[in-house]
Symmetry: C2
Subunit: 202 residues, 2 copies
Amino acid sequence: MVRMAEVSADQRLVKGARSRAAIARHAADVASVDGLAGVSLGRLATDLGISKSGIATLFKTKEALQLAAIRAGREVFVEQIITPALAVPRGLPRLRTLVERWLGYITDPVFPGGCFRAAVLAEFDSRPGPVRDAVAVDHEDWMQFLAAEIRKAQETGDLPGRSVEALAFEIDAIVSAANTARQLGDDARVVTARRILDDLLN
Amino acid sequence: MVRMAEVSADQRLVKGARSRAAIARHAADVASVDGLAGVSLGRLATDLGISKSGIATLFKTKEALQLAAIRAGREVFVEQIITPALAVPRGLPRLRTLVERWLGYITDPVFPGGCFRAAVLAEFDSRPGPVRDAVAVDHEDWMQFLAAEIRKAQETGDLPGRSVEALAFEIDAIVSAANTARQLGDDARVVTARRILDDLLN
């Protein structure tokens, strides 16, 4: 009986973790279109056909759900962009792969509203609190990663004489603006962005 | 009596127009921080200490209020950035003034949440409807204005051999990213943005 109860508790934990992950992932989808403001316990319950109290058991508050959405968005970004780039040699080839995959993630979006990071960063940059803090940390991690890869490219002789900070800032700015253009259906500007990025990484 | 009634009707119209403008302007302030999603009849009524039915008489729906906020944001942008630049000779001097004033509008913001356009563009780029249409038209007008000024600078011999579309896209992307950095309290990246813009306009 004790063993049975343990198995059952384990199963409940596994099931709970899976539910949490599925709910957080859907919350990220919602946030990419309607912003994190659109991520409410009630909305998620309706979308997923589960009870609001069921979601409340797992996430308690809207803010906890928003923070889980940010973590889910980050996991997708790592899986789609960073992990594949890590398979490519460090330096300029990896940097180009990062930018290429990031653009792909925007033109053929995983999230219905395009780049999750771009959406929530602009939404929460002016609203102090735990959500902005989480979004800012995520953004900073990405900027540091990008800067480290640029530095590595310079150590192997590429991109000579360029400011690492300026180049990382420009890449991020251009891809974010390309995301906006893509979401507005302006594919010509996405082509423009790609050309600018090619020039920056030459 | 007829004349009195006319005067009174006029006064009511003037008062109504003033109220509309004041409410729309506050709606733009709110949207710059909390997004257009935060612009509701109830929120505005509470903030301004007027009745919700009074606001509803002037604006009917949340969407009408959001559209009025976009027009108010546009008016401020024209007044702060475009009008002063029109006093400077066309070509590179005017282009530099436009970018300088736009950066000033970001570092010393008129709106509590920074650049109104950047905030609402990212918020509504994935949500089809009249609000996205208004935001997209406003953005496109600005991009065309910027492109026309770049073209003029080239006609007078400056910025030779540069793609007009690419340069307009870059300026917009860098200033928008500077706005995000500023809202996150990251003044070092605002300095980086300024350096990149100086290089672009040289």
